[in-house]
């Protein structure tokens, strides 16, 4: 055909050079994701300090390749130096409000890799269902899953997710949200949740985890022993959001406890007591933790390396929260403006794009405490039939 450009000798290889070994390890908050890409006539080189950077560079390389109308693949001479601005770039999936089959999670991990996300925040259980198959407490999913045969994540499923993610440089941070958001835990763990009272008699309804009995902490220790082993990431997300105090208030034993401890009517103190004991348990298991912002807001005593997850979006108040959290010396993650489950008409991606995470009042040392953020896809109205087009 006429007008065909002469392409010259085709490039036959992309050389990938990684300076620090470590192909079998897991990515972490400190992983190096930087890379350099050098494409010129005669040589194509991708160099990175760690394998994680190589993954990021491969994605970029694949985006540079074009195809002309004759079907020829080509690439322009290019020089790229790249590294992420924020080390924690996450996505939250909620598998409790609606079960998500394994293939939906794996597909999401693929698309996360296309977009250089590196944290999968797995909000795995909540009020409506408990799909996580625990080896220590099998009754939890047997009684708490939507369907114990079909709507569960077996140990093998969980391993599959963790490895699939690892191969894409994605950390899996599991969230076992307590003491609120735990209704589905009740049927499989009798005595765990607080019985609510109407007057002097139990109403038959249950509330958050019961913070005043020893069995609760024995249970938590055993459960988190298992969870710490199953999930290799250093961090666990412990939740701690939206604890409704009404049930605690109605329970006479709890009220007696509140008096004994001198907490008065301040149930935030009771919540803090629970969270503190939980944080101790998790620390002693050698894990770090992330908590939702209420834990910070309610003055719980936290370890200095706790990460606070900022999510409340009322009237653009989150910059203030970011300032407070980092001002108190804690690391922060931002999700408030990125609740992607809250759909609206038109090109709403622009609103998400315009967010500047460091736009809050603070000194550079504070700003350095912002580790990154997470886009959240809560599952009240999301299942496998609409997850992918809603998220991407």
């Amino acid at each position: 055909a006429e007008n065909e450009p002469s392409w010259g000798t085709p490039c036959t290889e992309l050389l990938v050079y990684v300076s620090t070994p470590g192909c079998d390890g897991f990515p972490s908050l400190n992983s190096k994701e930087s890379y350099k890409l050098s494409i010129s006539k005669g040589s194509m080189l991708l160099s990175a300090e760690a394998v994680w950077g190589a993954l990021r560079g491969l994605e970029t390389f694949s985006q540079l390749i074009g195809r002309d109308e004759n079907g020829t693949y080509y690439i322009n001479e290019t020089e790229i130096v790249d590294f992420p601005r924020f080390p924690h770039r996450g996505l939250l999936l909620d598998t409790s409000r609606h079960y998500l089959p394994l293939r939906a999670i794996l597909e999401t991990l693929d698309v996360m890799a296309y977009n250089k996300f590196n944290v999968f925040h797995w909000h795995i259980v909540d009020d409506p269902s408990f799909p996580y198959e625990s080896s220590t407490f099998p009754e939890l999913s047997k009684q708490g899953a939507f369907n114990a045969m079909t709507h569960v994540y077996t140990a093998s499923d969980v391993r599959t997710v963790i490895e699939y993610a690892r191969l894409r440089g994605i950390r899996v941070i599991a969230e076992f949200d307590t003491p609120g958001h735990t209704l589905s835990w009740g049927p499989g763990a009798p005595g765990l949740l607080t019985p609510c009272y109407v007057g002097k008699a139990p109403s038959g309804i249950y509330g958050p985890i019961n913070p005043i009995i020893n069995s609760t902490y024995q249970f938590m220790t055993s459960l988190f022993q298992e969870v710490s082993t199953v999930f290799p990431d250093f961090f666990l997300h412990l939740g701690g959001d939206e604890v409704d105090f009404t049930c605690w208030k109605s329970n006479p034993e709890i009220r007696a406890f509140m008096e004994k401890m001198g907490f008065g009517e301040n149930y935030k103190k009771l919540e803090s007591l629970y969270i503190q004991r939980l944080l101790d348990i998790v620390s002693s298991l050698g894990k770090g933790y992330i908590v939702w912002q209420e834990v910070f807001d309610n003055d719980v005593k936290l370890r200095p390396d706790t990460i606070i997850h900022v999510w409340k979006e009322n009237a653009m108040q989150y910059p203030k929260e970011m300032a407070n959290v980092t001002g108190a010396g804690y690391q922060a993650l931002l999700s408030a403006p990125w609740y992607l489950n809250r759909i609206s008409y038109g090109q709403d991606w622009m609103e998400a794009y315009k967010v500047e995470p460091l736009s809050f009042q603070g000194v550079p040392e504070q700003k350095a405490l912002v580790m990154g953020g997470e886009a959240c896809m809560w599952g009240e109205y999301v299942d496998v039939t609409n997850l992918t087009p809603r998220l991407w």
């Binding site: 759909i343 609206s344 008409y345 090109q347 609409n386 087009p389 809603r390």
Partner: protein, 543 residues
Amino acid sequence: SRCIMGRAMGLVGLLLGLVLVPAVLVSTSLRHGAPRTEGEAEPSGWELAADAVPEDSLWPLPQWVRTSPRQLQLAPSRFQLVHGAGSSAGPGCGLLQDAFRRYYEYMFGNSRRRRRGRRPLAARAEPELSQLQVVIEAEDPGCDRHPLLTSSEAYHLTVTEPVAVLKAYEIWGALRGLETFSQLVHEDDYGSFLVNESEIHDFPRFAHRGVLLDTSRHYLPLKSIFTNLDAMAFNKFNVLHWHIVDDQSFPYQSIYFPELSDKGAYSPNLIYTPTDVRLVIEYARLRGIRVIPEFDTPGHTQSWGKGQKDLLTPCYNEEQPTGSFGPVNPILNTTYDFMTKFFKEISSVFPDAYIHLGGDEVDFSCWKSNPEVKEFMQKQGFGTDYAKLESYYVQNILDIVSSYNKGQMVWQEVFDHKAQLKPDTVVQVWMANNYAHELSSVTEAGFTAVLSAPWYLDYISYGQDWKKYYSVEPLNFPGSEKQKKLLIGGEACLWGEFVDATNLTPRLWPRASAVGERLWSSRNVTNLQDAYKRLTNHRCRML
């Protein structure tokens, strides 16, 4: 031979009786086989029963339902959908044969139990329902014809042992009844197929129940159109309003004017060939769905100009053409020559009695800028009232289309700008602002109306917005009884600016189901809790 008239009269009488029965006698009052009594109010207060009642998944809710707790069993290997004795339709009726197979598969799936069972089933208490007999009462079933606005979709379903009977005047009612029957059949915990003894009289409240798809803003592959037609049939929708071309692209491959799609489609493979169009029309027909194409002019026509030179108005800046184009040029004879030929093709390609001619959102600025147009305005004595020019154009198109014996549907602006419409023109009300008032005006002027304004489903929002679509009462507008009769139905619109095959189905369904029930079921079926229960079951079934 049987007295056809007698049967027809009988059914008419039955239907009249239904209309007179107080609205309160809708299914909810006849749950547990209580004998039918006039005017018995139903104690409200729905509790989520541990074991679901069969009506818990009917959607849309039929006009009259009576069920009994007595259950019948169906054996997939033996159960048959057949033509009943006395039906004017038989095995030669392709539409019903196709429906029998389709509904058999919906009910029993790819069940391995369809093969003869190896072990005899444990003796059950329930008697077996061996057949559903379908009886078409009209003398000529018209199995090869297309549905009309005036088609009868009423049916009467009796489910008792040993055979169930579905009677309908026309085949369209049989299709609706098959859907309902399939919604009554359920599986128990042991995997057995059961159906409760029941009797249902049903017919649609409104005759025009449509879904609008936009294949210009984004091309929609045939598969996704077919999936949508399936979903429409599950919800008893009966009109596909195919907004096939618009500014952005012209995917319709015209026989007389192949350049239109050659130059105007997004790409050579993103088109609808004549075969594709026939496939859509037939797929729809087999589901009792009319296909009303919309070729929207004079606005929304940018893509037409690529393949048809001099069709669009050249815009001017002072004395010079800017190079950009506006709406269709209303002052040239060539425009009307083109439209005459074009609509001749459309009239023969699309068998429905109606064509939608658009007429919305015409931007006058380009016309105003063009000196020849301005001159024409003067000559015609239109002054500076460009609405008159628009009406002049529209009237010409209406005449052209009329001459091909097609009825016309138009968007409301055509009426608002006072074009002279044919008496049987259908006006589609879409502007959300004060649409009740518009409905009054349109019907007061004696025109039939179709409502879309509150049902723009492309306007997504967080949460259970189906409730807001469900709560619309189309007849809530000031007007006489005669006027209200002119509102023949409505359409749920899914404009394509942000919709393509990757998200069409979850965006449209089950939200459109809310509109489907509003247009089919009785006016007083408004309880949101009951609707929620039925809709969640219906949605899972649709998946």
